[in-house]
């Protein structure tokens, strides 16, 4: 186990050997996080996957060209240039397929990925037989060599990541439009194709430098995972991008740090796992869109709907007992009457009554009878009033037949806020709803089913 001093040394970038690796992966994570946000929103997350495979033929061909020119064939700038060119070729193939056929994005990506990768493997095999050159180690291009990073690698990553981040922030507005409504962007006169090329060009640049430095799988994960994790926390693009950059950066920093401390763990894999853990946490717990907060909200809503149904049913029973009064009086009513109002199972009904008792909407009464409390009766009157206001509005302004309006009203009434109710009152003021609680615009209960 590494000691605390060692951990601190690595994490705080004081160790020269690991500083470059940790810094590089952090920068890559930030840049990929920013750009990945656009890819996610454009539903092209797997673009990094396709492009990273598409770089392989370029590597092999660049190697062959450099060897035939008399070089060693392993000069990094040449290989990177080849990779970039073949990545761009893959990119244009994809966009062309997308534009000229009815095949969809996923097929275009899969096509480029598999065919380019196949060509790459075949040509790598071919150049291996070239006389006077050893192509061994070209594959490390695919898997990355994080641990043996040198200063020039770091500068390259820093420059490319910096430029890519800068461009993605400068073109924020254009990319935003492209991601959310490219048809509208085109109609407004924006060059959508050029913007698409620019965005995917950035992806290619980050992919190529990332591939070389940290490997194929990591760069794919960097483009997808942080952005998807950030999406759970916010509904706005800029905060999402920044958060995604932070998640990418933190995964790079922590992952590379952990890997530096435990030599048998490959850096790329650890970084992917750190990002995956951050994703999992976001997916489960993030308040706006996480799974648990959403379940809790759904439960709350369901409870609220149940409560309102119960109260309105009770109020309508009381109304039916005193047909000639504007507002019925609060008196006990039999449980059986309630059961016939709605298709509650006994279990559901027991739960609803339990909650109503806990919320003081029910008062203790004789067995098999129910009696609303003062608060419960007031709430029941309010709920019923909202329901009828909304029904009246729907009948009058949305032309919904009175016999159907009950269910349509049910869809909305539970989320009517006080302001909306006030607005409804204003709307309907001159109508027959001057009464504190308007009469139901349609027959209720047994009369309804017989009519």
């Amino acid at each position: 186990m590494p000691s605390w001093e060692e951990i601190l040394e690595v994490v705080l970038l004081q160790n020269y050997n690991t500083r470059l690796v940790v810094l590089s992966t952090t920068l890559l994570g930030i840049a990929a996080g920013l750009i990945g946000s656009f890819l996610l929103l454009r539903k092209r997350s797997l673009m990094g996957d396709a492009l990273s495979h598409a770089t392989l033929p370029g590597v092999a061909i660049a190697f062959a060209v450099m060897v035939s020119l008399g070089g060693s064939g392993k000069a990094l700038p040449g290989l990177l240039l080849g990779a970039t060119l073949s990545g761009v070729a893959g990119l244009f193939t994809m966009l062309l397929i997308r534009r000229t056929t009815r095949l969809r994005d996923d097929v275009a990506m899969g096509f480029v990925l598999s065919v380019f990768f196949g060509v790459g493997v075949a040509s790598l095999q071919m150049v291996q037989g070239l006389p006077g050159a050893s192509a061994a180690g070209l594959e490390s291009f695919i898997y990355g060599k994080t641990a043996s990073m040198v200063q020039s690698d770091f500068f390259l990553i820093a420059i490319v990541a910096g430029i890519a981040s800068l461009i993605s922030l400068l073109f924020l507005k254009e990319f935003l439009l492209l991601c959310f409504d490219d048809g509208y962007a085109g109609a407004q006169g924006w060059p959508t194709f050029a913007l698409d090329v620019l965005l995917l060009g950035l992806v290619t640049a980050v992919t190529v430098i990332g591939l070389q430095a940290v490997g194929l799988i990591l760069i794919i994960a960097f483009l997808i995972t942080p952005a998807t994790a950030a999406r759970f926390w916010t509904h706005r693009l800029l905060p999402m991008m920044l958060l995604s950059a932070v998640i990418g950066g933190v995964s790079g920093w922590l992952g590379a740090g952990i890997s530096a401390l435990t030599p048998e763990l490959p850096a790329g894999a650890v970084i992917v796992l750190v990002a995956a853990v951050l994703f999992l946490i976001s997916m489960i717990f993030a308040p706006p869109r996480g799974v648990i907060p959403r379940l809790v909200r759904q439960r709350h809503l369901r409870r609220k709907v149940d409560r309102q149904h119960f109260l309105r049913a009770a109020f309508e029973i009381l109304e039916a007992e005193a047909p000639d009064r504007d507002v019925p009086s609060n008196s006990p009513f039999p449980l059986a009457a309630l059961r016939s109002k709605r298709t509650w199972t006994p279990h559901e009904l027991r739960k609803i009554l339990k909650i109503a008792r806990r919320e003081d909407h029910l008062e203790p009464s004789e067995p098999r009878m129910l009696r609303l409390s003062e608060a419960g009766f007031g709430e029941a009157a309010r709920v019923t009033r909202n329901h009828r206001l909304w029904e009246t509005y729907l009948i009058r302004y949305a032309d919904i037949a009175p016999s159907h309006v009950d269910r349509d009203a049910d869809l909305v009434e539970h989320i009517l806020g006080p302001e909306l109710v006030e607005e409804l009152e204003d709307f309907l003021e001159r109508g027959p709803v001057a009464a504190p609680i308007p009469p139901s615009p349609h027959p209720i209960g047994k009369e309804a089913s017989s009519s």
Binding site: R104, Q125, A276
Partner: protein, 306 residues
């Protein structure tokens, strides 16, 4: 070129594997999940590693099941993340397969002390060596039997459940309404893809698998709008790719004065060439066809108005 029985077997194995992949591939393409093959081919790594760590051998049966389980899990996790997290399916797939691959890499690194289990060998495979590994005295390569079995299984499932698969591919909610669980069909398809992928991996490498799951169905989709025809054209394209690919692997490097190259890569390239031909010359929607039709329409317009 001297063609031997070796070459024949390579082509046969390649063609069997290609068709076995192309059939479920058609449904993947129709269901907008073309990248699943790529995802599964990466994600099987932890399955292989765990199977190895448990049994301690590189015997193929445990490896096969480990990989198949990992493949099905990929589909399952992707579905869960996409559904419960409201995440785009492509992104969900990307997260799942990169994570599983990372787990696999770490596991393999742990096992590396005991034996050589190279991630590269999983991804590349070697179709050229398949004729060497024959079953008993028959002289039939094991890979031909494995891939032939996968093909037969896929063919049977698709024939038996053809109606259901068609419905699931085009209108999943209608399938549900009519009482065919589209969930079940989805997972059945994913299991088929995973099994086929894994069966092919071991013998011929993942490049053929990924390419054959996507490219022949995409080619067929450009040529027809009928599902049975599509399956047929995709299978034909797959067989042609295998033949042309192997010929290309022998012949093309000679033009550059080099040795023969990997057949699997060239099969992918051949499929790409066939796709490009369909893209350009498809009778209904090829680029060239459309351009010519366009021109002849331009010419005929003044006549009709005159």
């Amino acid at each position: 070129m001297n063609w031997t029985s070796f070459d024949t077997w390579i082509v046969v194995v390649g063609a069997l594997c290609a068709v076995a992949c192309a059939l479920p591939g058609c449904f993947l393409v129709l269901r907008k999940m073309s990248m699943m093959g790529d995802a599964i081919s990466h994600a099987v790594l932890p399955g292989l590693a765990i199977a190895f760590l448990i049994t301690g051998t590189r015997a193929s049966v445990p490896m096969f099941f480990g990989a198949a389980i990992a493949g099905v899990l990929t589909a399952l996790f992707t579905q869960w993340i996409a559904r419960f997290g409201n995440v785009d399916r492509g992104a969900a797939m990307g997260i799942v397969f990169t994570t599983l691959f990372a787990v696999g890499l770490i596991l393999i690194r742990q096992a590396a002390d005991h034996v050589d289990l190279d991630p590269g060998c999983v991804l590349y495979g070697a179709i050229e060596l398949t004729p060497l590994d024959t079953v008993g005295q028959t002289g039939i390569p094991r890979a031909a039997l494995v891939n032939g079995g996968a093909l037969l299984g896929n063919l049977l499932i698709i024939l038996v459940l053809f109606k259901e698969f068609r419905l699931g591919a085009f209108d999943a909610s209608l399938a549900d309404t009519l009482g065919f669980s589209s969930q079940f069909l989805h997972y059945l398809l994913m299991t088929m893809v995973a099994m086929t992928t894994v069966a092919a991996f071991e013998s011929v490498g993942s490049i053929i698998v990924i390419a054959m799951l996507i490219v022949p169905p995409a080619t067929a989709l450009l040529l027809t709008r009928k599902l049975p025809t599509m399956l047929l054209i995709a299978s034909l394209t797959a067989v042609l790719s295998a033949i042309l690919g192997h010929l290309g692997a022998i012949q093309i490097p000679r033009w550059f004065g080099m040795e023969a190259t990997t057949t699997s890569g060239m099969i992918a390239l051949a499929a790409g060439v066939l796709f490009t031909l369909a893209w350009l010359f498809s009778p209904s929607e090829g680029l060239v066809t459309k351009a010519r039709r366009h021109r002849s329409e331009d010419l005929s317009l003044p006549e009709s108005t005159a």
